[in-house]
C-alpha cells in the first residue's frame, strides 16, 4: 500500500486536523464526535443542511461546508458511514431555528445511522427532514433491494440546496428542491483500478492491466460488469447512454454535465471524457448549460470517472450559479 499516511487508524483524525489548520476562516472542526461546521453557524432563520458519509470521498462532504452549501458534514471512518451521535451533535450545532435538512446517500448504513440521529434530534425538539439521493443508474432498482446508490448528484444537490437555504426558503421548500434535483439527476461510474482502504492495506479488487469495471459505486466495490479496456470515447458512450436513457431527458432540455474523477484520474483525461460526453449530449438534443469537471466525489486514489447529468430549469440554474464559498467549491463571492 503506497499512501502518504501515518497509521490507518489516524487517517480521518489527521485529515480533520489538516482541514482545521487550513480553513479556519471558513469552517470549524469538532472532535469526538467528529464533524466539520460553518465557522459562522448557527445562522439564524436559515435552514441548516447537514450531510456526511464515509471518509475517502474528499472533497465531499467536508470540503463543501461553507456559505451557500453545507452547514455541517460528518465524516465516518474510510468508506464507513458516520455514527448517529455525529449527526445529532452536528444538527444541534448548526440548527438556526428553521429546521435541519439531512442529505443522505442511499446506503443501508447511511440511512440507518442518519435515521437514528434524526429521531434523536426530533426528540430534542429540532425539526429534521431527510432526503435520500439515489442517482446511480448502474444499480437495478427494486422495492426488494437496497435500491440505487447515491453518487454524483449528491454534490450537485448540496450546492443547489445550499443556495436555496441561503435564500431563506423553508425546510419543506429546501427539501423539495433536493428531491427535485435527485429526481432529475442520473449518474454512472467506472474504474480503471481499484482503491486501497488504508485499514485493509491492499486493493479491494484485482483488475488485470487490460480490464475495467463498469457500474461501480464510490466505495471501491466492484461494478456490475468487468470488460476489456476501451477507448475514452467508447467508455464515455457506455456511461452516457444509460444515464440519458434512464430519465426522459427530452431534446431541448437544459442540462448540467458533471464529469468526475474517482481520485486517481487526472484532469487531462476528464476533459477528453467531457469532450465526448458534451458531443453525445448535444447529439441527443440536450443543451449543456452548466458543468462541473474535477475530483469532487472520489474513492480514495481509484482511477476512473463518473458522469452525472441533471436536467435544469430556471430555478435550479439560478441556484447553481449562486455564490458558494467552501474549501472545495467556490465562486461568485
Amino acid at each position: 500500500m503506497k499512501k502518504l499516511i501515518n497509521k490507518p487508524e489516524d487517517v480521518v483524525i489527521e485529515e480533520l486536523k489538516g482541514i482545521e489548520y487550513a480553513h479556519s476562516d471558513l469552517v470549524k472542526v469538532h472532535y469526538d464526535p467528529n464533524f466539520i461546521y460553518r465557522a459562522d453557524a448557527p445562522i439564524k432563520d436559515k435552514v441548516a443542511i447537514v450531510s456526511g458519509g464515509g471518509s475517502g470521498h474528499e472533497p465531499m462532504h467536508g470540503g463543501f461546508v461553507g456559505l451557500g452549501m453545507l452547514d455541517a458534514a460528518c465524516p465516518g471512518a474510510v468508506f464507513t458511514s458516520p455514527t448517529p451521535d455525529q449527526m445529532l451533535e452536528a444538527t444541534k450545532q448548526v440548527n438556526g431555528g428553521k429546521g435541519v435538512l439531512h442529505i443522505v446517500k442511499n446506503y443501508t448504513g447511511d440511512i440507518m445511522n442518519f435515521e437514528m440521529a434524526a429521531d434523536l434530534a426530533r426528540a430534542e425538539g429540532i425539526e429534521v427532514e431527510a432526503v435520500v439521493t439515489n442517482d446511480d443508474v448502474a444499480v437495478q432498482d427494486s422495492l426488494y433491494t437496497a435500491g440505487r446508490r447515491g453518487v454524483g448528484i449528491t454534490v450537485i444537490a448540496e450546492k443547489i440546496c445550499g443556495a436555496a437555504a441561503e435564500q431563506k426558503r423553508s425546510l419543506k421548500e429546501v427539501a423539495d428542491v433536493c428531491r427535485k434535483v435527485n429526481g432529475w439527476g442520473r449518474s454512472m461510474g467506472m474504474a480503471l483500478t481499484s482503491c486501497t482502504v488504508p485499514h485493509a492495506g491492499k486493493p479491494t479488487f484485482d483488475l488485470p492491466e487490460d480490464e475495467m469495471e463498469i457500474g461501480i459505486g464510490i466505495h471501491g466495490e466492484p461494478g456490475r460488469t468487468r470488460m476489456k479496456l476501451k477507448s475514452a470515447d467508447e467508455v464515455t458512450a457506455l456511461l452516457m447512454e444509460p444515464v440519458i436513457n434512464d430519465l426522459p431527458y427530452k431534446a431541448g432540455d437544459n442540462v448540467l454535465l458533471f464529469v468526475n474523477s474517482m481520485g486517481g484520474t487526472p484532469l487531462v483525461e476528464l476533459y477528453i471524457i467531457y469532450r465526448k460526453a458534451y458531443e453525445l449530449a448535444t447529439k441527443a438534443g440536450l443543451k449543456v448549460a452548466r458543468n462541473l469537471i474535477g475530483p469532487y466525489i472520489t474513492s480514495l486514489e481509484m482511477a476512473g470517472c463518473s458522469i452525472t447529468l441533471l436536467k435544469l430549469d430556471d430555478d435550479l440554474t439560478k441556484l447553481w450559479d449562486a455564490p458558494v464559498k467552501t474549501p472545495g467549491l467556490r465562486w461568485g463571492v
Binding site: P8, E9, P33, G54, G76, A77, V78, F79, T80, S81, P82, T83, P84, D85, Y107, T108, G109, M112, N113, M116, A138, V139, Q140, Y144, T145, A146, R149, V197, H199, A200, T204, F205, G217, H219, G220, E221, P222, R224
Partner: protein, 210 residues
Amino acid sequence: MTITRDDVLNWLNECGRVITENKDYLTQLDSAIGDADHGANMDRGFKAALAKLPSVADKDIGTLFKSVGMTLVQTVGGAGGPLYGTFFMQAGTAAANKMELTVGDWAAALEAALNGVVARGKAQPGDKTMVDALTPALSALKQAVVDGADQNESLRRSASAAEQGMKDTIPLVAKKGRASYLGERSAGHQDPGATSSFLLLKAATDTWTK
C-alpha cells in the same frame, strides 16, 4: 446450569478477541462483495465497547448488553453499527435486571435481538445478510429448548446452525446491503455480516459450554 453475569462478561471479552483475530478475514470477505471495512469497523466497535464495560461491570446483564449496544452504535458506523447496536440493545431490554440467564432467557434475548435487526434492516432470510446466520441459530436454539436438550447441547446446536446459515449465504444473490449492488456477481461469496454473527454466537457457545 445458567449463564451468569461473569459468563456474559467473559463472552463479551471473547467476542472482542475473536473479532480482532478475524479482522482481516472479515475485511477480506467484505472486499469481495462490499467495501473492505467490516473487519476494521467491528474491531473498532468491540474495542470501544470493552473499554466501557468496567464502568458497568457490577450492573445487571441487560445493562451490560445495552452498554455494548450503545457503544457499537456510536463507534462502528456503516450498516454493522446500527444493526449490531440494535442487536445488543434489544437483547439488553430482554435481559433487563437479570443477573443470570437460563438458556431460555438467552433464547428470548436472541429473539429480541434478531427482531430488532430485522425491524431496522428489513432483511428477510435469503437476502444474504447477518439475518441468515442469526435466524437458523435462533430456531435451533429454541428447538433445542423445546427438545429438552441441556444448555451445552442447545448452545452447540445454535452455533452450528449459525455456521450452516453463514455457509449457505455463499450461493445467494444479495438483496440487501452493499453486496446487492453487485447483482449476480454477489453469488459465490460468503457474507461478511453473517460471518461476524456466526463468530459472536460461536464465542458464546465456546465460553458458556461447561
